[in-house]
């Protein structure tokens, strides 16, 4: 076995790791760097649970050699942060607000894919969003709320860019108004650890 020490740029930091040249980025991120948001669902690039951002683009880390990632900017969900507002990102907030999370196992992969999509700065339609996320599988949600969450995240970005963008109106008579969801999110975030650590 040929072990090698390499440097990876992960979540904004250079990390020195000793790896087997044959190992996948999935294995390195989980086993060496304890980034457990990177999930295993198939090990052959079918399900997208192990998605990570490489230079802003999503790849299946289970079928990507760690050696290939040297010199690239690697981002996992642990590294996502809205630095400007010292907060979780709009994508993460929308996944919470739109009930786009159930078991949560595919969620990190979807969130990274959504971050990539929002970063395109394009006013995608729902059908376009569906096509873009089709490499990520989810068995709990039927995708509907995930698409809605991404739509809403795109909307925030389009608002910032001054581009008109309409999200699909709710299809159920039980819907909760946006401002009420925002309030609930605010109180949910207030309960979380990161706010405790600010004390």
């Amino acid at each position: 076995m040929s072990k090698k020490i390499i440097t990876l740029h992960v979540n904004g930091k250079d990390r020195e790791v000793m790896i087997d040249e044959r190992e996948s980025l999935y294995e390195t991120l989980r086993n060496e760097l304890n980034l457990t948001s990177v999930k295993k669902g198939c090990e052959v690039g079918e399900c997208g649970a192990c998605s990570v951002l490489l230079n802003g683009r999503c790849v299946d880390s289970c079928i990507y050699l760690t050696m290939w990632a040297v010199g690239k900017d690697i981002v996992t969900v642990e590294g996502l942060r809205d630095e400007e507002n010292d907060d979780i990102t709009d994508v993460q907030k929308e996944f919470i607000k739109e009930a786009a999370v159930q078991c949560g196992f595919c969620t990190p992969g979807f969130i990274l894919k959504a971050v990539e999509i929002v970063g395109h700065n394009k006013p995608y339609t729902r059908d376009e969003i569906k096509k873009l996320i089709t490499g990520n599988l989810c068995r709990c949600t039927g995708y509907m709320n995930i698409v809605t969450a991404i739509e809403h995240a795109i909307k925030h970005n389009m608002d910032k860019l001054g581009v008109p963008y309409e999200v699909m109106p709710s299809t159920t008579s039980f819907d909760v108004p946006e401002d009420e969801k925002d309030k609930m999110l605010e109180s949910l975030l207030a309960m979380q650890n990161n706010d405790v650590t600010k004390i």
């Binding site: 457990t36 669902g41 996944f95 009930a99 996320i133 995930i146």
Partner: protein, 779 residues
Amino acid sequence: MNYIGKSNLRVDAYGKVTGKAKYTADLAPKDSLIAKVLHSTIANGEVISMDVSAAKKVPGVVGVFTCFDVPDVEFPTAGHPWSTDPKHQDIADKKLLNQRVRFYGDDIAAVVAENDVAASQALKLIKVEYKEYPVHTDARSMLNDKDAMALHPNWRKDNVIAHTSFKSSDDFDYDKAKLKAIEEYGEENLIEVVKNVKTPRISHCHIELPVSYAYVDSNGKVTVVASTQLPHICRRVVAQALNIPWGKVRVIKPYIGGGFGNKQDMLYEPLNAWLSVKCGGKPVILEIPREDTMIGTRTRHPMDGDVRGLATKDGKLLCRELKNYSTNGGYAAHGHSITAKCAGIFQNLYKNPLGVNSEAWTVWTNAPTSAAMRAYGVPQAVSFAETLTDDICFKGGFDPLKFRLDNLCDENLVAGGVKFYTYGLKKCLEIGAEKIDWYKKREAYKNQIGPIRKGVGICSFIYQTAVAPIALETASVRMILNQDGSMQLSLGATEIGQGADTVFTQIAAESTGISPDKVYVISTQDTDVTPFDTGAYGSRQTYVTGNAIKECGLLLKKKICEYALLMEDEDGIKGKKLEDLDVSDNYVIDKNTMEKLIPLDKLSTTAFYSFTHNQHITAEKTTDITTNTFASGCTFVDLEVDMPLGIINIKDIISVHDSGTIINPALATAQVHGGMSMSLGYGMSEELILDPVTGKAYNNNMLDYKIPTAMDSPDFKVEFVVMKDPTGGYGNKALGEPPTVAPAVAVRNAVLNATGIGFNEFPLTAERLVHEFKAKGLI
């Protein structure tokens, strides 16, 4: 109601969107040994010998264990409550590793190694010598072969796990009823449909693989951390499999990445525990690869049913019959219960004035084991019942909506101790019809020609909310008031993605008066700590555990109020009686005046630290539920069929559910979406296919086995008919599984409306559609 019926955000959402939520594999110790399982490459036969010498020599291999090494103990794997009556105990027919091979992929050996590569290499070096027997992969072929060898001769010589016949009366006979109908109405005034319907073998496809790790702790306790839906049952089965006292086993369940019934069986936890014991109690992790998961764990039962139904020419359904052959695979797992549930729903969905016979055989075969999957036999039941209805309507020229409104079971239905305490089925149909614009579209879609045709379709269903009175329904809950007036909520019921922890929080808040942000639900179950509950299955938890939480909450509240009376120095307390007090929004209040008397944080701190009235306020409650109420609902779909391409495009789809009070509408809606998606997979794309000769699966991977992707998923519409059920803790009925029942068959019935072709084999793949349209000369 302060907190019930509100769309609270999920209590676990933050952890899940930030990657902080930990699942089983995330928690395994870094020095865990890696286990891998060797599967048989024949479907029926015996392992005669195994040569493991080369495997043992691979550097890093710690141990190789074969079917010749395991304890001679057969154990049951089903996630059912144990029965103290031997006659009602689950069938014990599986060993940890099996020398007698019953399906292609049976577990025959295991390797434990220091690393993944060594384990994989060793697995490949094991040499196996088999003796092969003839293969029968489906129930009918097994039964038709009178010389078929018994797979479990200690249990049954004929491979029939069980045969039941649910009849409207003991002497009911379909043919006699038909003769009676001919006498009464005249043959020319009757419509009869006779056909065969086949349902697919479905894989659960939870994205998290089945995974566990096991070790023996410093006190000698065999500990298994597992992705399971039911930690307390898992503990019992592990103990049975290892033949050790139940208390010697500890099971811990962290977050789980989906289960859908597959993790309602004990899959590899017992083997994992045994491997750790054999390796000196060191931590051993066992994660099953996707390909092995799809054949070696569990599947939804493929069923093959002969169906008959008779109606009058003016649209009155008279009698029906189902003879259903259910392929159970190599091991009994849940035994006959799923096929029996299917039979019961077929029987009871409609009124059958001249009677009904619903007969079922569950058969051991040389196929992957079928067991629980979301909705437990009911998708198959409506595949029989609701395609029969539409075929009768098509033949008789009846409107399928009106026919259902006239003939579906009504609020008087009582079946096996289950009844409608509230009945919303027909209301669901009316709402769905209005939303989809049923009558207008039925009219508009008449007499279509051309390659692309439109259709609308319905499917309705009923669903038992829990498993009582067939099985025990019991749940325990513990509440502990913290020093600051917040609360710890500990339960044996499990969060498996469905949102249980969030609705449990809401129910706890409603019953105690402590606001949801101060309710800390302990999501991880640990059988050493957590009170008993049978776990997540059967759409039971919000109903059964929900009742227990409510009662526990009321008890805690009473104790808080009793303590408040001891705090005489507080303004407004003196002279108050217990019945004057209540807790609301974290205050003890005077319920007559709604005046706030004592804040809970002050009361709790006082209780903990008082020299005169020191008390730790806790409550614990066990409830067993003997009632069971029917939920119901329907799906309407509007679609286009591209006939030359065999492609179905769903234009509009709506599910309407009669599930009592909806505790959390946003999460309930999300759960319905997921169920609808899963049903569309069953209806249009999913089928695990076996080679009938070898029993080998053709498509046991997520590329060739097609669960819906985002592109396959339409935007779902969801509505609820809310009626407060008197038996649910806060009026709630089943919702976890019901969404998975109807959409597939609604699609099939809409295709019938569009094209005039009634498909009787699911899923409706492009291949099946084109083949049939060609055969009928339509393309």
